[in-house]
């Protein structure tokens, strides 16, 4: 039978040879991995050999979307970009919303795989079945917005969607992103760097094909139910007003807002840079992604001061708090400017802020001198320095060149600050201190792309609802943020859930954080949209399968239990003030519980053959030669 919801075609473009191939989307890929991140992770495992240089032509850049994208299902608009990461050397992927993914679907593609390397800069133009590789020499070196403008002038169609890399990617900065609709950044793990290494400046997509679902009436009924659940949710208005920036204030109150490079958990100027402040001072309009009824993106306009005239979308919590608390900056407009620069130059805002704040801590400790840092004053919160460094990193100039390979490499090159380089497996950590949020912390430690929260997002540990902890994970501690017990089970469960959400390519903030799409509901909508007969357990198993094949990709690259760790500050130095005072991160017992729950070897953290076979991943077990 035909599976609805999907476009049914995988597009492969080889930039070395110019060959363009269309293949049918494999049925076993659909059944085993649903879509998006699942498709990409499976293919990465199969097609990227061990030891491959991420910046070689042999690396592959994969864009994938999910079965609900292009329909009216609320928030179904996202895409995953995956490749072997040049920043971390392990699995790299990033996810973004906006309108790009839907356009890709309407053009007729579930997955686009870019291989090889062009000799000259090119962009790819896709207009339904017409796929062309076009000259981009006139675009090379240009910033993201500028590139978009020129491309649009050329095609004279405002409905086309673009995904673009900026100068940072071209200059080989290892944490460059891909920017869809100008400001929707798929920027973690350096996927933009891989794109530019293929001399690919942009994708321009237009599509006019319909997306059809298996059971329209049923599908619309479920979609409406989800829509209503979103409208009725207590988080609806806070999210519309502030997006994810709404959490800056509570994270600070809990005493876990990474401040001055994780040296504190409370930022004394939080109220000057909070989501509330941003909303009242600068926000002018709500914007939403494609097919979303909770427009949580905000357009801001700075009307006064030295940044007068600055306007744009966002920022979200991570970029906002990274360019404020993390670097010790209390000037909100400056943070907007920093984020705007990162977007236009094409940088990952989080990693950029980590590199800057790490330099500032090294400077405060007297390890880093002015001379090494191009004479910059690296005092906490120095706005000029922050903006100058963003530019220098993107251009790989002077001290920026040192930072442009990420914080791990910078600390190794300079020979100091390795123990305070805040990364996990090479990916710079997000804006939440694991000492105050144990489940999230465990999620960072085991995440398959490195120090990141989006693999697990176990938000219910913030609920402080012991009954729920007992019901779901057997112990009341599971739902208390400062306790470690039950967190292995918690993280395992939520990782599976997030993997399903990423495979469907819907919004994690809504489907998972707002709890509108638990596994049984996901099974229902998958059936109505695609015709695939899956129950809730089968859907959860897809999540588990994705997590396991990603783990296998890491294991094949040499990752084991010893790498599932985090910088020593979190393990040894308790917070000295705030509402997480005295807390450290209890890594080892949590890992034990997690591996046991996952069916992975306790000593090595490697998935067992039995577990992989149970997930129909016997060939993966053979490939990594596990017991």
């Amino acid at each position: 039978m035909k599976y609805y919801g999907y476009a049914g075609t995988v597009l492969r473009i080889n930039l070395s040879t110019g060959k363009i191939a269309r293949n049918e989307l494999e049925r076993e890929l659909i059944r085993g991995f649903i879509g998006g991140r699942g498709f990409n992770s499976k293919r990465l495992f199969e097609e990227i050999p061990y030891g491959l240089d991420p910046l070689s032509p042999e690396n592959k850049l994969m864009f994938a979307t999910g079965p609900l994208v292009g329909t009216m299902f609320p928030t179904a608009c996202r895409f995953n970009v995956s490749a072997k990461s040049p920043l971390t050397g392990i699995l790299g992927d990033s996810n973004a919303g906006g309108h790009f993914a839907a356009e890709m679907k309407y053009a007729g593609y579930d997955q686009i795989i870019i291989e090889g390397r062009s000799r000259e800069p090119v962009y790819i133009s896709i207009d339904d079945d017409l796929v062309r590789i076009e000259d981009a020499r006139h675009l090379w070196g240009r910033e993201v917005y500028e590139t978009d403008k020129i491309l649009r002038e050329n095609i004279k169609d405002s409905s086309a969607r673009t995904a673009i890399v900026g100068p940072a990617a071209e200059n080989g900065v290892k944490f460059a992103g891909i920017f869809a609709d100008l400001m929707r950044a798929a920027a973690r793990t350096g996927v933009g760097t891989v794109m530019a290494s293929k001399r690919l400046k942009a994708l321009v997509i237009r599509g006019s094909k319909p997306v059809q679902v298996a059971d329209p009436d049923r599908f619309m009924r479920i979609s409406e139910e989800i829509e209503d659940a979103i409208y009725r949710h207590p988080q609806y208005w806070p999210r519309v007003k502030m997006g994810t920036t709404r959490i800056l204030t509570p994270v600070n109150e809990m005493g876990l807002l990474p401040t001055r490079h994780f040296t504190q958990g409370v930022f004394e100027h939080a109220s000057e840079v909070s989501g509330e402040r941003l909303a009242e001072k600068y926000n002018v309009k709500s914007r939403g992604c494609f097919s979303c009824n909770i427009p949580c993106s905000r357009f801001y306009n700075v009307r006064e001061g030295r940044f007068s005239g600055l306007k744009g979308e966002g920022p979200e919590y991570e970029a906002l708090s990274a360019f404020t608390a993390r670097v010790g900056n209390r000037d909100l407009a400056l943070a907007l400017k920093a984020n705007d620069m990162a977007n236009k130059l094409g940088l990952d805002a989080l990693t950029t802020a980590e590199c800057i704040s790490w330099s500032m801590e090294c400077y405060a400790k007297g390890w880093l001198s002015n001379e090494v840092a191009d004479g910059l004053d690296l005092s906490w919160g120095n706005g000029e320095t922050i903006l100058t460094l963003i530019e220098k990193i993107a251009r790989r100039e002077g001290f920026g060149h040192v930072l442009a390979d990420g914080v791990r490499a910078a600390s190794q090159k300079l020979g100091f600050g390795e123990e305070i380089a805040m990364h996990i497996k090479g990916l710079e950590m997000i804006q939440a201190d694991p000492r105050g949020l144990k489940g999230y912390g465990l999620g960072f430690a085991v995440a398959s792309r490195g120090g990141d929260h989006l693999r697990a997002e176990p938000f219910i540990e913030l609920s402080d609802d012991p009954k729920r902890g007992i019901k779901l994970f057997g112990v009341p501690e599971a739902t208390r943020r400062l306790e470690w017990k039950g967190k292995g089970k918690l993280v395992s469960y939520f990782e599976n859930w997030c993997a399903v959400v990423d495979a469907l390519e819907i919004c994690k903030n809504i489907a998972e954080n707002m709890e509108v799409l638990p596994f049984p509901k996901a099974a229902e909508v998958i059936r109505a949209a695609t015709g695939l007969n899956m129950d809730a357990d089968a859907v959860a198993q897809v999540g588990e399968r994705i997590v396991n094949i990603e783990r296998a990709f890491l294991v094949r690259g040499g990752i084991t239990r010893k790498d599932d760790t985090m910088p020593s500050r979190f393990l040894r130095e308790p917070f000295t003030n705030g509402n997480s005072k005295g807390s450290v991160f209890e890594l080892e017992p949590m890992l034990n519980e997690y591996y046991a729950e996952r069916g992975w070897d306790l000593r090595t953290g490697i998935p067992s053959r039995q577990k992989l076979k149970q997930l129909d991943l016997g060939y993966v077990a053979d490939a990594i030669n596990t017991r």
Binding site: G70, T71, M72, H99, A102, Y106, Y145, D148, K149, S158, S159, D181, L182, M183, G207, S208, K209, P210, V211, Q212, V213, P216, M220, V284, K285, S286, R287, G288, C289, F290, S291, C292, N293, I294, P295, F299, N301, K311, G312, E313
Partner: protein, 150 residues
């Protein structure tokens, strides 16, 4: 006299309107088959839903060679499928760009107000699209001087 009124400052650009409009006609989702389109300008944060406003002057004289572009008994602007020769003169003539050329190169698409209860109005999350029942048909002059978005 019913007509659709849009407020682009309220529009979030989610394109629910395009989706439900295309679904109504064919039970599939395809914004290119919609009778309402959101024009977007991301750099300036502009989202502008473009749809027929039932202007008083419409249809402009001598536009349609086959008189397929007309107003029905309820005074609603329509394109009569049987009479249309698919020349797209109406697409060119509409000053608001609210008559659309479908990808299949068939009869142009224009809003028909869903028999008086437009689905886009019902679905719009931010109430940027509303149905007005007051007064006479709008003339293009009524749009002049409307606040520029942002």
């Amino acid at each position: 006299m019913k007509r659709i009124i849009v407020d682009k400052d309220r529009c979030s650009g989610c394109r629910y309107c395009e989706l439900i409009c295309s679904y109504r006609d064919s039970l599939v989702f395809n914004p290119r088959n919609s009778r309402i389109r959101v024009l977007k300008h991301d750099e300036l944060g502009i989202d502008d839903p473009t749809v027929c406003h039932q202007c008083a002057e419409c249809p402009p004289e001598d536009t349609c060679p086959t008189q397929a572009f007309w107003r029905d008994k309820d005074n609603i602007v329509r394109i009569e499928e049987k009479a249309c020769n698919v020349c797209y003169a109406c697409v060119e003539a509409c000053p608001h760009g609210a008559v659309f050329r479908p990808p299949t190169q068939t009869v142009p698409l224009v809003c028909d107000l869903c028999s008086g209860e437009p689905l886009c109005v019902k679905k719009c999350p931010t109430h940027a699209i509303t149905l007005s029942t007051k007064g006479s048909a709008l003339s293009p002059r009524d749009f002049e001087g409307r606040a520029e978005a942002i």
